[in-house]
C-alpha cells in the first residue's frame, strides 16, 4: 500500500500516476485496466484540485492498495475541502446530440462506469472517495 499527500494542484497529477504505476508493477493487472485506473486517478484528483478548496494551500491524499490474493485494487482520494459527494451528482445525459451536451460531470461518470464499487464518506472534515476494481 502507498499513500501520498500533495498540494491540490492539477500539475501534481504525475506524482499520483507514478504511485499508481509503482503499485501495479509485478501484478497481472492488464494494460487496459491500468489505463482505466489512470483515468480514475486523473478525474478524481482534478475534481479536488479544481473544486474542493476556495483558498489556496489545500492538499489531497491519494492511497493505492493492491490485494494480490483477492486480485483487487483500491484507490482512495481524500481532501479537507468543502463537503461534496461526487457520487450523488446526477449522471450526464449521454444520449443528447452534440449541441446540447453539457461538459460537466463526465469525469465522475467515467469513474462510476469503469469501477466495480464506489463509496463516499465525509468524516473529520474530510471528503473520502474510495473505489475498487477487480482484475
Amino acid at each position: 500500500m502507498a499513500t501520498l499527500t500533495v498540494p491540490a494542484q492539477t500539475e501534481q497529477i504525475d506524482r499520483l500516476q507514478d504511485v499508481l504505476h509503482q503499485q501495479l508493477e509485478g501484478t497481472q493487472c492488464p494494460m487496459g485496466l491500468a489505463l482505466q485506473l489512470e483515468l480514475v486517478v486523473e478525474e478524481a484528483f482534478v475534481n479536488i484540485a479544481t473544486h474542493a478548496y476556495t483558498q489556496p494551500g489545500g492538499t489531497a491524499t491519494f492511497t493505492c492498495q493492491v490485494d494480490q490474493e483477492a486480485r483487487q485494487i483500491m484507490l482512495q482520494f481524500q481532501d479537507q475541502g468543502m463537503p461534496f459527494n461526487p457520487l450523488a451528482r446526477p449522471d450526464p445525459d449521454t444520449t443528447l446530440k452534440a449541441e446540447d451536451r453539457k461538459i460537466g460531470g463526465l469525469g465522475i461518470y467515467l469513474i462510476k462506469k469503469t469501477m466495480d464499487k464506489c463509496e463516499y464518506a465525509y468524516t473529520q472534515n474530510t471528503n473520502i472517495l474510495t473505489v475498487w476494481k477487480k482484475y
Partner: protein
C-alpha cells in the same frame, strides 16, 4: 502529447499522439480555436493516442460543435482504449469515427 498539423485546401488534419488529458488538452483546444471559418473538414487523426480523459473529450466536443457550423469533423485511427471512453460517455454516437 504531440500535435502535427497539415493543411490541404479546406481540410486541416491534426495528428495527435501520446495523451490527451487535463494537462495537454488545452494545447489542442488552442489549435481548434484557431481554425478559421473557411475550413470545411477537420480531421483528428489519433494515430498514437493511447489515453484520453474527460478533459480530452471536452476538447473533441468543442471541435464537433464548431465544425457542425462550418463543415465536418472526422476522427481517425482511434485505438480501443480511447474508443472505450467515447463509448462509455455516449460520444461514439455523435462523432464520426472512421474505421
Amino acid at each position: 502529447m504531440k500535435i502535427t498539423k497539415t493543411q490541404a485546401g479546406q481540410t486541416i488534419t491534426y495528428v495527435v499522439s501520446g495523451r490527451l488529458d487535463t494537462v495537454t488538452a488545452p494545447d489542442l483546444g488552442k489549435e481548434i480555436d484557431a481554425v478559421t471559418p473557411d475550413i470545411k473538414e477537420l480531421v483528428l487523426d489519433f494515430d498514437g493516442l493511447e489515453y484520453i480523459s474527460s478533459a480530452g473529450i471536452r476538447t473533441v466536443l468543442t471541435a464537433q460543435k464548431k465544425m457542425n457550423k462550418q463543415g465536418v469533423l472526422k476522427l481517425r485511427h482511434v485505438c480501443p482504449a480511447v474508443l472505450d471512453v467515447f463509448e462509455l460517455t455516449g460520444f461514439a454516437d455523435i462523432l464520426t469515427i472512421e474505421k
